[in-house]
């Protein structure tokens, strides 16, 4: 198996609170991995540490780009550098650019793969025009793939909730990631939308060859999608394995006491 992300002994303190404690996790190429755990377990914090929003207190975040087996340590680099390196994410609480159109939102994702600077913008030479045109086309193509083409000129804030979640995915895809981090992508979706999301995520993995790490509470979705599952509670990893293994793990059942774990 070819790893793309390897996290070792990750720890994060907020003042006295140890939100993450000695966490290990890895994602292989073309794999869909789920990170689950009760609310407040530290899942979002884990994403924030990987994507540079918080510098982790200890541990290593290693990425393997283009199949090279020499890992690159990305602890503490800025979020935009992380994205440039090929990790893109969505947010648990939707964070679109509400007063920009759907197309523009996706074009912002293209930003780090474009080059025009201030002078280029003012002079608007051939290469700038070409780049802009290509950005529009690429963005539109992504929207078609994600199934949002009908909303292309709509303001992001006017989109239905499910579509906003998908737009976040589209925007992340536009940065050309090799690993997509999805933070509760199905939250607030109805069963129909969740079903479509299930297909979409598989399609992204299969057609684009993007690995996926997702946080999700919808166990049906998690069980159907994941190749492997990591379970965290109070910032610590309490279990890992295939969906089958995790489902039958008594520790997990105990952590979720009262919550449904059946598929």
């Amino acid at each position: 198996m070819e790893p793309v992300l390897k996290v070792q002994n990750l720890g994060m303190n907020f003042g006295g609170l140890r939100a993450l404690d000695d966490l290990d996790l890895d994602v292989d190429k073309n794999e869909i991995v789920a990170l689950i755990g009760p609310n407040g377990a530290g899942k979002t914090t884990f994403f924030n540490c990987i994507t540079g929003i918080y510098p982790p207190t200890d541990g290593d975040v290693l990425i393997f780009t283009h199949g090279s087996d020499r890992p690159e340590r990305i602890n503490g680099i800025k979020p935009n550098r992380v994205t440039e390196k090929g990790l893109a994410r969505t947010f648990q609480n939707i964070r679109l650019f509400p007063n920009m159109t759907v197309l523009e939102n996706v074009m912002i994702g293209r930003h780090c793969r474009m080059h025009a600077g201030v002078l280029g913008a003012i002079l608007r030479g051939k290469s700038t025009i070409k780049e802009e045109k290509k950005a529009v086309e690429d963005s539109y193509a992504i929207l078609e793939k994600i199934g949002l083409a009908q909303f292309v000129d709509e303001f992001a804030k006017n989109l239905p909730y499910g579509a906003q979640r998908r737009l976040e995915i589209a925007r992340a895809m536009a940065t050309e990631p090799f690993l997509l981090l999805l933070d509760e992508p199905a939250a607030g979706m109805n069963p129909n939308e969740t079903q479509e999301l299930d297909e979409l995520i598989k399609q992204i993995r299969d057609e684009e060859g993007i690995s996926i790490l997702l946080i999700e509470h919808d166990m049906k979705l998690v069980m159907s999608l994941s190749d492997r599952i990591f379970v965290v509670d109070y910032g610590k990893k309490i279990a890992q394995g295939t969906p089958e293994e995790v489902r039958n793990n008594p520790v997990v059942i105990k952590a979720y006491l009262g919550e449904e774990v059946d598929a």
Binding site: F14, T44, N48, I53, Y54, F91, N93
Partner: protein
Amino acid sequence: MDYFLELFLGGLTRGSIYALIALGYTMVYGIIGLINFAHGEIYMIGAFTALIVISVLTLMGMNTLAILVIAGVIAVIYSSAYGYTVEKIAYKPLRNAPRLSALISAIGMSLFLQNYVLLAQTSDFLPFPCLIPDFEFMEPYAHIIGSTEIVILITTAVVMVLLTIMIKFTKIGKAMRATSQDKTMAMLVGINVNRVISVTFIVGSATAAIGGVLIASHVGMINFYVGFIAGIKAFVAAVLGGIGSIPGAVLGSFILGWTESFATGYVSSDYEDVFAFLFLVLILIFRPAGILGRSEKYKI
């Protein structure tokens, strides 16, 4: 040595005044996360109201101590009323708007109040009578510290203690702390957030008015513009101490007061205001959370 002591006490006095104003900034920021640009103007209006009351009462021939007390009380009442009204008009409608909007509105309010006083009164500096008599027992130390300064120091100390008691032990104080932690949660547990915000503005404005009257009688003159610079400096003090923290505001004020006092005493008085601003820039760059403030990491 005497010169040093003089500067030290001068800085302490300055710091006390800044503290009285800085409290309003810090409390408002703690509760609604807004820099209340108009706070300096509230302080100026307090001083102006006091001056007007003093002039009227003096003509009526009242005795100075009675005048001082009445003028102080009326100034506090009026500043509080202005603080309350400013919040209702300029900030409340913008509570859910982007931060930038509320900030611009605050600047507008500051500009409005300055020019309101300018047009209704005068642009000239007006002499402010010194109402505090020279105490006899202070005679031997008069070359180091004046009676007015002593009164300022004592008043500030009393106000701080009262404020601390209010915030620590009273019901409204607890509601204030709860609101500053989490507005939504506070609302859910039945706290009337609007009332808490109003009270915060009223209390902050009242302390500013006390500061206004004291400094005006210390310096001996006022005009419509005194609030702006003093306000900004008090804000610097609040940031220095850690905005949102009340002990921080006091500490920051003393540090700023001493810095200004020593810098103007030993270096040059031309650049008095530059020190405050340089201070501000340096703190914000190297320690944006201030001395006693907690560095906040917003949750995502």
